[in-house]
Amino acid sequence: MKIKKQQNTQAYQVGSLIGPTTLLVTVMFLIPLLNFLRNSFNVFVPGQFMQTAWTLENYHKFLTDPYYLSILGRSFYIAFSATLLALVMGFPIAYFLARTKSKWKSIIIMLIVFPLLVGNIIRDVGWISLFSGTGLINRFLLDIGVVQEPIQLLQTPMAVIIAITNVVLPYMILTLHSVLERIDPALEEAAYDLGASRWTVMKSIIIPLGIPGIMAGTLFVFVLSINAYTTPLVIGGSKVQMMAPALYSQISEVSNWPLGAAMAVILIVFTLLSSTIYLRIIERMSMNVRAAGTEVKG
């Protein structure tokens, strides 16, 4: 790019500051991504590589095969459950953090963030030692006599849901915390002074005002959960397949790039679609709540 002298130097400065980064993200991210997604319209020829084409064959194959559809359905079900669990567990902690005046607050936040930074594979090592046949949970169940033989915990959807919830919970807590912190405590104090119970305060002040945080948190956590790779691979294995590991094995083991690319597109579009529907539902619900609120006042 030649910059003519009469053009202002500002454009030149902006260009040289942000140009290299933009170039890198374009070459190493945008173009590869578009190129990969383009592969989803190609034809896979076993033995050979693939042929360039414009066909919907791969999408058709995925969307009509119960085996592939079950992977997508399972991914949704596991991500949905993990999101719900993370919300139920995360909300009390986030509220506690937003209201506490304890000097330990920064240490508590560190404890919450820490497992997140350690990385999934390390945590999965811990989960295996808990869930395996000789693991701590089975040992405990045997000792108290609930079961006579070790029960299968690894490679079950429940184990995957618990492990994924554990991964995403810190994100949920931090997102909720940032919103709940901004709610004026005076509102709650006033409600208590007027004789409201804890539950009423929760239901009519904290939760309605916390809706933006709940929305952002659940959405973020759902997207993270449905894209999970390491945890379903290690904890779920071949019995609890999810989209990310399944599409990776299409690419690396089967070498079926077109189908793998189609799965990537389906995963991305499905995530966007369910997020949009979810936002619409929440919007409608919160509008109803507001309408009900004005009715009571009137």
Binding site: L17, P32, M110, L111, I122, V125, S129
Partner: protein, 269 residues
């Protein structure tokens, strides 16, 4: 009165339980690494530190550790420099399409890292034939893939830091005859040092613990630490791999404590 006391105890207990849940897997890893026997049984037959002594003998893990260290340090430096330059443009200039560009630089955050990794591999693999030299697997393609996933963090943290700089200080420096470069070095840099340190540390951590982006880009003979751990875990889980994991836990805990000194952790996420 007693009822509200009970409910307060109850909610404290609930919160403690959830904290237990959050830290449980990490705690398990550290605990197991001190088990004496290779087969993990509860309660353990005894404790010892001999798994840590074996770390040095297992060349694979030491090699993977240093390889990861090299990739992550380099990715951190590159994404710090690029993040700082882009953040300066974003915070100090007005130009058309700024919002779009900013979103574009953050966009690698929303695409699953496994898809980004595959996409980079396929693109470089195809370009290899066209360019006629080796691109994958190579040290530089792996490093730049790590830059892509760490860049959103450095851009976000450094722009936030730059927005907090008092602009009248910069104007004063310019009024007193300082050049743009002098203003940058003597006024801007000192005031954004905390966010630079935090950005660097988080870029390093998110690169170091990322497994998905590297899967397609490493060679079988030279892998990163998370992948080496993954390959071992497929085979078995024993106190040795827990000891390897504990080393990574300690490294990251140390870095997190440093980062917290400079920027409150709750401000990062």
């Amino acid at each position: 009165m007693s009822q509200s006391y009970l409910s307060r105890i109850g909610s404290k207990l609930f919160i403690l339980l959830i904290f237990g849940f959050i830290t449980l897997p990490v705690f398990m890893v550290i605990w197991i690494s001190f088990f004496k026997n290779q087969l993990i049984v509860f309660p353990p037959k005894g404790y010892s530190t001999h798994w840590y002594m074996q770390l040095a003998d297992q060349g694979n893990f030491a090699m993977a550790f240093f390889f990861s260290l090299e990739v992550s340090l380099l990715a951190m430096i590159i994404s710090l420099v690029l993040g700082l330059l882009s953040s300066l443009a974003i915070t100090h200039y007005e130009f058309r399409g700024k919002q779009t560009l900013q979103t574009f630089l953050l966009s690698p955050l929303v695409v699953p890292a496994i898809i980004t990794g595959i996409a980079i591999y396929i693109f470089l693999f195809k370009s290899e034939n066209w360019l006629g030299f080796n691109l994958v697997p190579s040290f530089w393609s792996l490093t730049f893939a790590h830059v892509i996933i760490t860049l959103p963090w450095t851009v976000r943290l450094i722009s936030a830091g730059l927005q907090g700089v008092n602009r009248s200080l910069e104007e004063a420096a310019v009024d007193l005859g300082a050049s743009k470069l002098q203003t940058f070095w003597y006024v801007i840099m000192p005031s954004i040092r905390p966010s630079l340190v935090a950005a660097g540390i988080f870029a390093f951590i998110f690169s170091f613990n990322n497994l998905e982006i590297s899967l397609m880009l490493v060679s079988p003979r030279q892998t990163t630490l998370p992948i080496e751990i993954l390959n071992y875990v497929f085979w078995k889980v024993d106190p040795f791999i827990a000891a390897v994991s504990t080393v990574q836990i300690i490294v990251i805990a140390g870095l997190m404590l440093i980062a917290d000194r400079f920027v409150g952790l709750s401000k990062v996420f």
